[in-house]
């Protein structure tokens, strides 16, 4: 997030898109509700599904999945045509506006309406509201990024924020909501194939010198080309170029797209090691499994979605012979050529902060009270609540023209429904944690597929019937939930249930830049199962 959770109530308009906030980020959603209920802010919801936030929305635009770019280009068109741009901000803080202007000239609301199914008048109203409130904040989550056009979706949202000057002040900003508890930190600290900690490029000579020296490695040994992403790793394994895979705390056998493909890939490698707290689907395929510990049995830090670095503290003894991940990694390194000795997590933090400019002023001691938001460059710096207040990280904000392209897979006669995937309130991700809580699992014990009642009638499916959902890649069985939450023609499933692994169905087509798979759109068919379910 460019902004902070605590400044959400200062927004006059909230534009929420591709985020089922009340279920996936419930406590952050409380601040959105506060903005609307207590402070009279207007919520514009742009989401195909009638999710919980719809009850708080002033406007709800229900677009056909995968048509986001068309809508945001049309909103930009309206803002420009009606003279609602913030010209001072554009002149002082941005560049390339003319190219954008040119690119959206033809994107009339009528054209976007024809593509997205959202009435033109609603697009116009959303554009006016967003541009004129004085403080408008945009929020999104995987509903925006899990498309082949994910990077484009983010660019068009940034265009809206920059052309109206809704950046750098409380109650504004472009705010991606991070899913997993420490996605932000994993990215910040170099858990990415193209960057060292602090987003320093592995292709930069200076960065390689810096890390080689800090780590005591000869410069020539530093690899100078970008590594593989998850999806590329799986392809590499299938093609025999990737021979060994080590996995810490992830379960690609449940979370990756096109699971049959992942299974073949993991079977193909010569060596697979998995480090986790449970023997999950991926661990069962491994040659070696290393028992790690949960958040309650170790120290360290997580970085939340508003860039706040916060401590976790050990509260319980480690179970059996399990050990903290950092000790296991250190032991593996020392059995190779390393000579690492860390007394505790605070010492690792100190080394990492010295190499990561955004974290440079932080230490475990400073994080004791309330954490710190990066960038925090010096040990006196109070942290940064709002990014881009004076300048953008790259200097001037760059407008980027984006063209609408259709999703990778469209419906046809054989697979006539759009499948979209996401989360529900009571479970988390692959369910490893939440499904072991009897209370949570009792509320939501089985995989369901949301089907519109009109579609249900056509298919001869009643509420609670078991149905088979299939795509070109696989099939799963789930209980039908007839509901108007998803529009007719679209069905929705979560990926929380191993026994009905939705990612057997999803497509591994990825966004060309971010390499995020298109979980939000693939084509499926839905069939009633001939056998009645056992009660």
């Amino acid at each position: 997030m460019t902004n902070s959770i605590s400044d959400i109530p200062q927004a006059r308009v909230l534009l929420v898109t591709g985020s089922n906030t009340t279920e996936a980020h419930p406590v952050l959603a409380l601040q959105m509700k506060k903005a609307v209920r207590q402070n009279g802010a207007k919520l514009i919801l742009i989401d195909p599904r009638r999710i919980g936030l719809a009850d708080f929305a002033y406007l709800h635009l229900r677009q056909k999945p995968g048509t986001d770019v068309a809508i945001y280009n049309a909103m930009a068109h309206v803002i420009i045509e009606e003279g609602l741009t913030n010209d001072d901000f554009i002149a002082a803080r941005t560049e390339n506006f003319d190219a954008l202007k040119e690119a959206v000239r033809d994107w009339t609301p009528q054209r976007a309406a024809a593509i997205s199914g959202v009435p033109a008048a609603q697009i116009v109203e959303a554009a006016r509201l967003y541009a004129t409130s004085g403080a408008s904040a945009i929020f999104w989550a995987m509903g925006i990024t899990q498309h082949t056009t994910g990077t484009d979706n983010v660019k068009v949202l940034a265009n809206l924020a920059m052309m109206t000057g809704n950046v750098g002040r409380p109650g504004t900003g472009v705010n991606p909501l991070r899913g997993q508890n420490n996605v932000q930190g994993a990215c910040d600290l170099g858990g990415l194939p193209n960057v060292f900690p602090g987003y320093q490029a592995v292709t930069s000579v200076d960065a390689r010198h810096k890390f080689a020296e800090a780590w005591g490695v000869p410069y020539e040994k530093m690899n100078d080309h970008v590594g593989l992403t998850v999806t590329e790793m799986m392809n590499g394994a299938l093609h025999g170029t990737v021979k060994a895979i080590f996995i810490m705390g992830e379960n690609p056998m449940l979370s990756d797209p096109n699971l049959s493909h992942v299974k073949e890939a993991l079977e193909a490698v010569e060596f697979l090691a998995v480090q986790d707290i449970f023997l999950n689907e991926t661990g069962r395929m491994a040659d070696v499994v290393l028992p790690a510990v949960s958040f309650a049995e170790k120290g360290g830090t997580f970085t939340n979605t508003e860039r706040r670095v916060q401590l976790i503290r050990p509260a319980l003894p480690t179970p059996g012979n399990a050990r903290p991940d950092w000790q296991i990694i250190t032991d593996i390194a020392n059995r190779l050529e390393a000579d690492w000795s860390y007394a505790d997590e605070a010492e690792i933090f100190a080394e990492m902060a010295a190499l990561t400019p955004q974290y440079a002023g932080m230490s475990h001691a400073r994080l004791e009270q309330d954490g710190l938001q990066w960038p925090c460059p010096t040990s006196e710096h109070p942290g940064t609540a709002v990014l881009h207040a004076g300048t953008f990280a790259r200097g001037k904000g760059l407008f980027q023209a984006v063209n609408y392209v259709t999703p990778a897979e469209e419906v046809d006669d054989d697979y006539p429904y759009i499948l979209s995937t996401g989360r529900i309130l009571f479970h988390w991700h692959g369910g490893t944690m939440s499904r072991r809580s009897p209370g949570l699992d009792a509320i939501a014990p089985e995989a369901e597929v949301e089907i519109h009642p009109d579609d249900g009638e056509q298919l001869g499916i009643a509420h609670g019937d078991l149905v088979q959902v299939s795509s070109r890649r696989g099939q799963v069985v789930a209980a039908a939930r007839l509901t108007r939450r998803s529009p007719a023609g679209t069905v929705f499933m979560t990926f929380h249930y191993a026994e009905a692994a939705t990612n057997l169905l999803t497509i591994d087509a990825v966004d060309p830049t971010a390499k995020i798979p298109e979980y939000k759109v693939c084509a499926v068919k839905v069939e009633a199962l001939p056998v009645p379910r056992q009660q």
């Binding site: 080590f246 996995i247 059995r335 988390w428 798979p517």
Partner: protein, 139 residues
């Protein structure tokens, strides 16, 4: 009334909001969790996962022992740390020295700490010599 032996302030492990919580520990078990008020994130609030979703910590099927097998057709069997760690190190070294550093791929974790993510990418880049380290944030 049940009294905690220990109350430990920490961070909810579920989602990216990062709510601040107190774990109330009694006889080595988490028996109650409450939201903390003294912060700018959750102001005492928690969702159903953050308040009640901790049974997994005490689940009987938590891994307590390293597991290993010589062939994929065998079952995984308990082993000791020395054998497990030596095997991992030897097999990674073998892949690196035989097929080259880029034959190794590492998945780090959006559920692990910053310190652990930092160390694992350091191992990948400084010792194994590849940049093929990624996590499932895209997912």
């Amino acid at each position: 009334m049940l009294q905690a032996d220990q109350v430990v302030p920490t961070t909810c492990p579920y989602c990216g909001v990062g709510c601040q919580i107190d774990l109330h520990i009694k006889d080595g078990m988490i028996f109650r969790v409450n939201g903390r008020f003294d912060n700018h994130v959750n102001h005492g609030n928690l969702c159903v996962k953050g308040r009640f979703g901790y049974d997994y910590v005490h689940a009987p099927d938590r891994l307590r022992q390293p597991l290993i097998r010589a062939n994929r057709s065998d079952e995984l069997a308990p082993t000791d740390w020395d054998i497990a760690l030596n095997t991992v190190a030897n097999r990674l070294r073998h892949a690196r020295d035989t097929y080259g550093p880029d034959s190794i791929a590492i998945l780090t974790s959006a559920k692990c700490t910053n310190e652990e993510n930092y160390l694992l990418q350091k191992l990948t880049r400084a010792i194994l010599g590849t940049n093929s380290v990624d996590h499932c944030a895209r997912l």
